[in-house]
Structure formats: C-alpha cells, structure tokens
C-alpha cells in the first residue's frame, strides 16, 4: 500500500489502530472458512476505526482512491467473506464494541457492531430480557458480523434468525455517506425496507456502524429431552408433526449416525451406536405449560417410532444431554484433520430426501459426510471430514460439494441457510437466483457501490 495512503489512514484512526507488518497482515488472510488468500493477496493495511465518523472518512478515502475494503468482525464466517484480496484495507469493527443503550421500556438494544453476541445476550438476560439468535460461534462472533451474514442458530425454529430482530441500522455507504434505516418502531413502512436489504449483504453494500435490536421477555423456564430413532425418516416425521401440532420447541437438533457413533466414542453419553438419528429438543416458556409440551412431544416421538426417549429431570441432566450436541464437532474432528461444514437448507419435508442425496454423494466420491442440522427449519449442516493436504481426496471433496449444492436446489432448497455465500460459494449463486435474479442483485450492488470497493469478490465472484 502506498505510504501516503497509510499516512492518511493513520491520521484518521491514530497510530495505535493501524497494522501494516507482514505478520499482522497474515492474520487477515484467512477466516473460519477453508480458503486462505495467497501470499500475493495479503492486505495492505488493517485499520480499527473507533466510531462511525472515522469509518466514514476511511470509506471516503478508499472510494476516491478505489481501494478495496473488507469489513471484518471476528472473522468467524465460514464462507471466505473476510479474507484479504491484495492491496486492500481490512476494516475491523472490533473496537466499536459498546452497548449504547438497553431500553427496557421499549424492549430495544442499541449496539455498536463490534459487540460480541454472547456478551450482549448475557447483559440482556441480566435484565430479564432475551436476544434469541444464537449462532454456535456466539462466544466470539460480533453482532455486526451476525447482521451482515443474517446468522441463525439452533433457536431459529422458534425464534427466527438475526434479521427478525434488526429494527434499524446506521450504515456507512461506499461513498462515505452515512444513512440511518428503520428505527425504534416495531412497524415501519416508510420507504423501501433498506434495513432488510443490508441485513445479510455480507459487507458488500455498506459498513454497519450501529444496530437497533428488538428484544423479547426472557422465557421463564426451559427443559431438554432427547429422542433416538432407528430410521431417519421417523425422526423427520416427528419433526414435522411436532411443528404441525403447534408445540414449537426452542431447538430441534438432528444428529445422524456418523455423529452419533463419534459422539458416543468420544463423550460416552449413552447413545445407541446403531441408531440412525437423534433429536435433541429444548422447550422453553412458562413453567406450567412446559411439562405439557414435553408430554406432547414425547407422545409424538413415540408415535413416530422413537426407540429411546430421555427427559431431563434436573438442570444437571439437561446439561448432560446437551453435552452430546456440544461434543459433536470435537468428536468428528478426531476422524480427519479437516472439517468443512456446508449449510444447505431445504423445505422441512425434504430433509429425508436431502440426507439420502448426501449419502449417495458421499458414497459416489468416497468421502465422509456427517449430517447435523437445525431440523425444525430444514437447515442441515453437511459436515465433510477430510484432509485438505491430500490433493487427490481434495479434488473429490470439491466435486462432492458441487453436487451437494445442486441436490439442495433441486429439492427446492438453497445453497446456504445461514452461513452466506462469501467467496467460497459465489460461483454457485445463479443455481439459486437464476440469471435474472443475479442481474438484479448486481444492479443493486452497482448503484450502492459503483466503484465496487466493498468486499469485492463476495457473492458476485471475480
């Protein structure tokens, strides 16, 4: 990066908040996805603005000089959305980490983008309130990153995803101008819904510098149960039936046989290793209706053919059941050195068909694909267990992933339920959107970021 640009950026954010050494820049060549940027694609500089004004100045400068800008939260995304693309500016929002307001009267939180998801949740819960979206990465991910990816999580089935809680945004556009969308009102139809447009835009339309979030009252109590099935179809039927009966649990997590076997080996939680599916179910709400919900779900699971049902009687037992789910990743990561999690999503009723396809694809390419998912909303995590240093195997893995996407779209599904397109999946996007859809997206990108400085390569490819 030209010294003069570094100088001007330093003047904006101060000496302590710019990083230019090789070892620093190397840190921004990867994120939680399986791709890394090449050595030649190391960024020119990483800057940590302290507020919206600084962010605006940085973007204005970048726009004038046509320098790519990569917004970055905690870098936990799994779609290559934050890796450097050569002589670019990595714009890290982590310093902007204040909860600006917790408005108990309106049940609203106003936060800066760098606030860590889990921290916000615990602050909110101290007030008896609840911010439901719970990506498994919440201990590190930022709210800004969650909004930019429209992150989901296990609770999505009952409580929806990040988008459902974003009421308003402050966004710095590529030009450096600042716009405010939405506000503190629950209902708002004043002009186009720009809040929803920026939500899930993966840093390609603007940099989010403030977020107004809706909160809800904290459920009084919760309980956990686990149901084991010998057939996947039975588990899937139970899921549809539970939702159709109106007893929507807070989470409905599905684990397949590969997960079950590995979890059992690793954590010894007492799962039958020949079972094809386990559902881990958490219900929440008023104490008096919880027991009823559990009864109903138990009945449905039995009717669908569950061979074992365990209902936690104490918080310690609930914790034990959750241990199965939480050991899932560590358990399978012993199998092979590289884990790739795809998050294809299909209509709920197509889960069995999708899982069959996944198995067929795994067999065809001789790769291991385990399946775990947020079954209530059809969001599957196809987990490929592989070794990226094995070139030959890797090429089979790549082909398998291609086929996964095609299979998902054929089953009326989508490439990504919550992880985003990023750089990793951009070449597949038209499978989903069609040419007309991509063209519209391109035009939206073009009008809001005419110089294509914001996260170039993300969503639209090179």
């Amino acid at each position: 990066m030209k010294q003069e640009i570094i100088q001007r950026l330093t003047e904006i954010v101060g000496q302590d908040n710019v990083y230019t050494s090789l070892e620093d820049l190397y840190c921004y060549s990867y994120d939680a996805s399986f791709v890394k940027s090449n050595k030649k694609d190391l960024a020119g500089i990483a800057v940590y603005p302290g507020n919206a004004e600084e962010t605006a100045k940085i973007l204005k400068l970048a726009n004038e000089e046509k320098i790519p800008v990569i917004p970055r939260g905690a870098g936990t995304n799994v779609s290559g959305g934050t890796i450097s693309v050569g002589d670019s500016i990595i714009l890290v929002l982590k310093r902007m980490n204040k909860i600006l307001e917790l408005d108990r009267k309106n049940l609203i939180a106003v936060v800066e983008p760098g606030v860590v998801t889990g921290y916000l949740q615990s602050e909110v819960e101290r007030l008896g309130l609840f911010y439901p979206p719970d990506p498994a990465s919440l201990a590190v991910s930022t709210i800004g990153g969650n909004v930019a990816e429209c992150a989901g999580g296990p609770r999505g089935v009952k409580y929806g995803v990040t988008r459902d809680y974003v009421l308003g945004l402050e966004v710095v556009l590529a030009s450096g101008e600042v716009i405010n969308t939405g506000g503190k009102t629950i209902k708002n139809v004043t002009g186009y819904d720009m809040t929803k447009l920026f939500t899930g835009s993966e840093g390609t339309l603007g940099v989010i510098t403030k977020i107004i979030l809706k909160l809800i009252p904290k459920p009084e109590a919760k309980n956990t149960m686990l149901a084991v099935f010998s057939e996947l179809e039975q588990a899937s039927e139970a899921v549809s039936e539970i939702i159709a009966k109106g007893v929507v649990p807070a989470t409905l997590e599905l684990l397949d046989n590969i997960y079950i076997r590995n979890i059992e080996e690793y954590a010894k939680v007492g799962l039958p290793t020949d079972a094809e599916a386990v559902l881990l179910i958490e219900v929440d709400g008023d104490r008096q209706i919880l027991a009823k919900q559990i009864d109903k779900i138990e009945e449905i699971c039995k009717q669908s053919g569950a061979i074992q049902i365990r209902i936690a009687q104490t918080p310690a037992e609930a914790e034990e059941l959750w241990r199965a789910r939480r050991s899932a990743f560590p358990a399978v990561s012993r199998v092979r050195p590289t884990i790739i999690g795809e998050d294809v999503t299909v209509p709920r009723s197509n889960i069995p068909a999708m899982v069959k396809q996944i198995r067929a694809i795994a067999a065809k390419y001789k790769v291991i694909i385990a399946v775990l998912g947020h079954a209530g909303d059809g969001n599957l995590h196809a987990t490929i267990l592989t070794d990226e240093t094995d070139r030959e195997e890797w090429s089979r893995v790549e082909k398998a992933i291609d086929e996964l996407f095609i299979a998902a779209v054929k089953l009326d599904g989508t490439l990504s339920g919550e992880h985003g397109i990023g750089r990793v999946k951009s070449k597949f996007i038209t499978l989903q959107t069609g040419e007309a859809g991509l063209e519209i997206q391109r035009r939206i990108k073009q009008v809001l970021d005419p110089n294509n400085i914001l996260n170039p390569g993300v969503m639209f490819g090179k």
């Binding site: 929803k196 835009s201 990504s416």
Partner: protein, 462 residues
C-alpha cells in the same frame, strides 16, 4: 393517451374480456380508500385484467417498449393513493388472478396468486386448522398482493408480526417483463440479497407480484377477548407495555382514546362510565385453558395497577363479536362525527405512546380541530384521525398544516410516518424528513436499479 394501435396490442394479450377503456370504467379506477381528491391525472388511459404471469409479463414488455406508466392494483383499499395513477397510463388490476394454488401441509406453506382476498386465505387455512395471522381491518376486501405491496399490518401484529413476516418467496414481473423468483419454501435462506423483503412494501414501484409463498402456523386452539377501560390514557398505554414485558403477550391490544370511545358509544347508544378516558381491547390466544387463564389473570392484575375502572372478559362468542365490532366499527363511528375524517398511520416506539398522544392533542387544539386517536397500541402504531369539514373555508389548509405537524411530532419522538399504510401519494412530501437526503438518495438508487425507465407506479413514494 395510449395510441389505438397499442391498445390493440394489449388486447391481443388479455382479450376483450380483460381490457377496459370506457370512460365510466376508467373513472372507477381513479380512486382508492385514501382521502385524495379526484384529479384528471388520476384517471387511467386503460385498465387491464391479466389472468396469468405470462400475460403480466407480456403486458410489461409492451408497456416497457412504449414507456407507458403501469399502476398495479389489487382492490383499491389502500389508504395512501398507491393504486391511483399519478400520470395516467395503465392500471394493471390483479383481482382476477385469485387462485389459491397449493397448500403444502408438510411444510405449512401456501402458494397463492396476488388477487386472492386476505379473508379467503384466512378462511381457507382456518378450515384446515392452520393460521395465517396478518389481519388488516380491510381483510374482507383487500388482496394479498396489495397486502404484500404495502406490508400490511393489523391488530395481531403485536404477537404475530406483519405481512412481510409471512412472505417466504415471490414471483415478480420486473419493469422490462422479465420474471424473477425470490426465496422459496425453505425457512432459512441467505443466498444473495434479500430480494423478497425488498419487494415487500415496495408499493408497486419495483415490480408486479404475480405469486407468493406464505408461511402458515398452526391455529391456536382457544382465543379470548377482554375489554379494559381506564381513567387515563397513560394508564391504558402502561398496561399494554407492562403486559408485553411480563411475557403475557396479547394477540392484539387495541387502544382507543376518549373521543373514539364516545363516538362508538354515541353511535350505538351505550351508556358510558364518566370516569372512562381510554380503553384497550385485548385478545389472548393459546392452546390450553389454564395457560390462557394465567395470561388473562396477569393482564387483569396489571390493568388494575394501571388504573382500570373495568375489565370485562367476553364469556360467549356473541360477547366477543360485540367487543370486536366496537373496534372494527370505530372508523365509521368516528367518521360520522364530521364531514371528513383524515386518518393517519404513524408508528412510534411503544413507550412514547403517552407522549405522542399528548403532542397530537396539542396540535389539534392549536388548529381548533377535533382529534380521535385509536390504534395498535401493542406495537406503537396509531391512527390519529382529524375531524374536519374540508369544504369549509380555510379548513383544508389547517388540516394540511396539522398533518404536517403530526408527522414532525412522530419523528421527534423517534417514530415514523407510516406503520402499515405506506407512503404512496399522500405522504411523499414528508418522506425526506424521515429518511434524510442520503436515505432518499439510497432508495432512489434502488428504484433506478430495478426500474431504470421509471414506468412502475411513477410519482409514488418519491
């Protein structure tokens, strides 16, 4: 004027049946449910009633070729002039595309054409134990296409959200006649920008909605209605806020001020307790008697703490209908008080309700106008109605100024111009106050990206 030759081309698409160009017919498409005066420019040159997406696409191609303005119309119940031509052109009336295409009871999704009436959707679902919650008070006449284009709300929004929360996917014919599919039956989908939500609330300015996939939920088993009367409006507002925060979230919480209640009482010859200054109609729903009893008990207790002078739970279906007919009849009862009723649709943070009502009264007093306030208190969406005689000298100017001040007041307390009725023609002069110049530029650029020739509902919103 549209050339005879061109009219012929249109008639080849829809046939003689689907084409109206008699003066009287055209006149009936020159107004909606807003209080706009009838203007010559509001009369369309042509009305077309397509019966399929193909027909809509062919119409748009032609209109695009000849640069003819196209105004989409459902059933014209819009409150802001959205379906009224601003510059002549053709009205594309979708009321004959009124088929429910598919119920997917596995995934709880309904696929419909845009001209289906909201009430028909509700009824179709209710007969099958399913629930489509959005309930604009106009539901007997309004179309789902119009609901989506306005992102319509209704009393149930406090618990169940608005139309947009149920739209999972759309088929849209774009300005140039190309057909776009957005979203789908998967609950979670982050592939590309959220175009579905961009079209929701776009008031016919970005594309013509020709099909929609709606999410359904199971029908709650029991509903109960209660009416609470208060000795102060602040008390009524506080009761609503507190019951939401307690987690006893009502399915509806409709607020009425003193004038509104008196209007209904007068209309129906009901004796009123002189202490009554405000009222709230609550609806609660759920699956168990015990759960509902607990919720209503909690609400009653909170209302008493907030100064209720009466809390009446409807015991029979008749009593329930009676309470709701009071609410539904409110508009007409208030309208009967004066020659004209100018109803607005502001939305404010819930906690600002007492403050905004105070300000609204000050404004009305300053202009010597009568004012009635009622609305969806649970989500802060109010319908202040000014009562006037627009034919009296000077009255029209007074009303216009008062309306302007009402909007300013809404913005000043952190609210917005419209919670559910949209901007259309009637509010466009105030839009920049709400969005700021940068915000306006941003939505204008989106409009330009999708409709570069500016033929879709020109003159609206901007």
């Amino acid at each position: 004027m549209i050339d005879e030759k061109v009219i012929n081309e249109f008639s080849q698409i829809v046939g003689a049946r689907g084409l109206l160009n008699e003066n009287l017919d055209l006149f009936t498409y020159s107004y909606d449910a807003s209080f706009l005066p009838l203007l010559p420019a509001a009369k369309p040159d042509l009305v077309l009633k397509p019966q399929s997406t193909q027909e809509v696409a062919a119409i748009m191609k032609l209109a695009h070729k000849y640069r003819i303005p196209v105004v989409a119309r459902g059933l014209g119940t819009g409150r802001t002039g959205g379906s009224v031509p601003a510059e002549g052109g053709l009205v594309l009336c979708l009321d004959e595309m009124n088929q429910i295409l598919e119920l997917d009871d596995q995934n709880l999704m309904l696929t419909v054409e845009p001209g289906v009436k909201t009430q028909d959707i509700y009824q179709f679902c209710a007969e099958r134990g399913l629930f489509y919650p959005p309930d604009p008070s106009s539901l007997k006449q309004s179309t789902i296409g119009g609901n989506i284009a306005e992102n319509a709300g209704g009393p149930r929004a406090v618990k169940y959200g608005v139309t947009g929360d149920y739209v999972m996917g759309l088929e849209v014919v774009l300005a140039d006649g190309s057909v776009l599919q957005t979203g789908g039956k998967m609950i979670k989908n982050v592939t590309g920008y959220d175009l579905t939500r961009l079209f929701v609330g776009s008031e016919g300015t970005l594309g013509i909605i020709t099909r929609a996939i709606l999410r359904l939920i199971p029908m709650p088993k029991i509903r109960r209605t209660a009416q609470a009367l208060f000795d102060s409006l602040d008390g009524a507002c506080a009761a609503v806020s507190r019951s939401i925060k307690s987690g006893a979230i009502p399915a509806a919480a409709e607020l009425m001020d003193q004038i509104s209640i008196e209007a209904v009482a007068k209309f129906r010859n009901i004796e009123l307790d002189p202490r009554v200054k405000a009222g709230v109609i609550f609806e609660f729903d759920g699956d168990s008697e015990a759960g509902l009893d607990a919720q209503i008990g909690e609400a009653e207790r909170l209302c008493a703490e907030c100064g209720s002078v009466q809390f009446r739970i409807a015991k029979t279906k008749e009593e329930e209908d009676e309470l709701w007919s009071l609410r539904r009849g409110m508009s007409s009862a208030i309208a009967a008080l004066a020659a004209n009723r100018i109803a607005e649709d502001i939305s404010v943070p819930r906690a600002a309700l007492p403050e905004i009502v105070k300000r609204l009264r000050e404004i009305a007093a300053r202009y010597g106008l009568q004012l009635a306030v009622f609305g969806h208190a649970g989500d802060g969406n109010l319908h202040p109605s000014l009562l006037a005689d627009l034919n009296a000298p000077g009255e029209k100017e007074k009303v216009e100024q008062a309306v302007g001040e009402i909007f300013q007041a809404a913005l000043a307390v952190g609210g917005t111009l419209s919670g559910e009725h949209g901007i259309g023609l009637t509010k466009k002069d105030y839009l920049a106050d709400a969005l700021g110049e940068t915000g306006m530029a941003a939505i204008r650029s989106i409009k330009k990206a999708l409709d570069p020739a500016g033929i879709l509902n020109p003159g609206k919103i901007f």
